[in-house]
Symmetry: C2
Subunit: 170 residues, 2 copies
């Protein structure tokens, strides 16, 4: 597996982990008798995105990361989710989309140039885009989502964050 495919596969796994963190958040809200929407609207800092937007942004970083490096146009997701179920559907849609890529889709990545809508006239080589923007942005939003849940008392630990490993016997 090329390391690009490995990077995208890891994003796919982390999004599936994220869905489980959200489930644990709902369990916590139910046990403590508060609405899960309290978690979705929580943020660490007043001028930072709440959980809903962190989840949407993590989905987008992964989706655009895979699509742009492969030179494809991803499906649109207009950020209209307001409930846990809608956010889980969004996550699953992106997990499924990421699963549609294989190493062959990145075979031409060395020649792909990524244009950024918010930087007219400028572009990044695909590898630079993946390393310098898509990956740090993805993990920023994934980790901030995790932090918002932890900050609100949801019991998550390192194992929930990392998820499964492709272990082999020594």
């Amino acid at each position: 597996m090329s390391n690009i495919a490995g990077t995208i596969a890891e994003m796919k796994k982390m999004l599936a982990n994220l869905e489980r963190w959200v489930d644990k958040g709902v369990e916590h809200a139910t046990a403590k008798k508060f609405e899960p929407s309290v978690l979705l609207n929580s943020r660490l800092v007043p001028d930072q995105y709440p959980l809903t937007r962190q989840i949407q942004a993590a989905c987008d970083a992964a989706k655009f990361g895979a699509a742009r490096v492969a030179g494809k146009t991803p499906p649109a997701h207009p950020d209209t989710e307001t409930t846990v179920d809608e956010l889980k559907t969004r996550i699953r849609a992106v997990v499924e989309y990421l699963g549609s890529f294989s190493a062959a889709d990145y075979a031409g990545a060395d020649k792909v140039v990524v244009e950024l809508p918010w930087m007219p006239g400028k572009a990044l080589a695909a590898h630079d885009y993946l390393n310098e923007l898509a990956t740090p942005n993805f993990y920023f939003h994934i980790t901030t989502a995790y932090a918002i849940l932890r900050h609100n008392g949801v019991e998550l630990g390192k194992q929930d964050y990392i998820g499964s490993l492709n272990l082999r016997d020594k």
Copy 2:
């Protein structure tokens, strides 16, 4: 540049970004007339590491990431830092160490197997180790360090997080 080298180069850049976030934290503490050690001892959740340990852990994830994939033994850092200056020295030491690697160091990565001290008898292929452990752990601690500073009022934004980009003209 192979994508492994690109991944490590990005960690190096993010650690340099982290040093600037710490500097901004010190400026904030000075302006608000409190000791910077208050920031170093701050955490988002009672049972999560404070800023000092987040910085040390980010340094370690990057250092071990580069070293293990290249089949090398990294320098030891015993986590004894207690001041801003000591933490900045730690960050710089790891930035310098990461800078000593080149793509050639990862040329044999496809055959490298990484043994994990805390999982006797188990191992990960080098690419899996980088994608499934080193990278998510690195960004976990980097982003949590950023979140602790933001949560304590330090004025940081997305540009501080992302840092410089290898932009080219379209």
